[in-house]
Symmetry: C2
């Protein structure tokens, strides 16, 4: 994957919550969706994914339950909580703000000579 690994750091939680805004889902599927949504250009490492689940559950942003599939491997489903939805909204706002700030910082005005030291 290589691309944008560290850049996405700090957005993992938001990405996972976003996936759960639609509907309950489980680890493997969430990652598949991320992969397809990014044309195979990005995915969460499993360790990262499952640590994030623990963290989000700890924070009360998601809750989990075992699926009752009668075939295939067992799945642990995650559901976003009301607090999780709030947190997601907040993360979205923060992300937009951060983006705005960063874009200001990496496209500096060319004029620097006139300003005082």
């Amino acid at each position: 994957m290589s691309i944008a690994a560290d850049l996405i750091r700090g957005n993992t939680d938001m990405i996972i919550l976003a996936q759960l805004m639609n509907q309950d889902s489980y680890g493997y599927r969430i990652n598949s969706r991320i992969r397809s949504a990014t044309d195979q250009r990005y995915e969460l490492k499993e360790a990262t994914l499952y640590t994030a689940f623990r963290r989000l559950e700890e924070a009360g942003y998601i809750s989990s339950y075992w699926g009752d599939e009668d075939s295939g491997a067992r799945r642990r489903y995650y559901s976003i909580t009301p607090q999780g939805k709030l947190a997601y909204q907040k993360m979205l706002e923060d992300w937009k703000i951060a983006n705005d700030l960063i874009s200001r910082l990496i496209t500096p005005e060319s004029d620097c000579t006139t300003e005082a030291l």
Copy 2:
């Protein structure tokens, strides 16, 4: 500051290099610029700033020299190297890509029912 701390992680180097694209500068001033460019909403913590300088110099992206001011505290000026400029361009590209990917991931299509499991 609070806002967007972890979100900017991984962008620190790019931000610093961007400041040096214009002209040589020094730690304190770079941070002042960041503060004013963001309307006082963001700044690098000093520890973060100076570790970044070490890291960037180590990588060969910047070089440093002591200013010859005959008044005021001594200043260590930093200059971006040709490699640094290349790295900066690359970081910019990566940032754009990462942004594109993230925005895809946090604004999911509402239709999910039709697709195969």
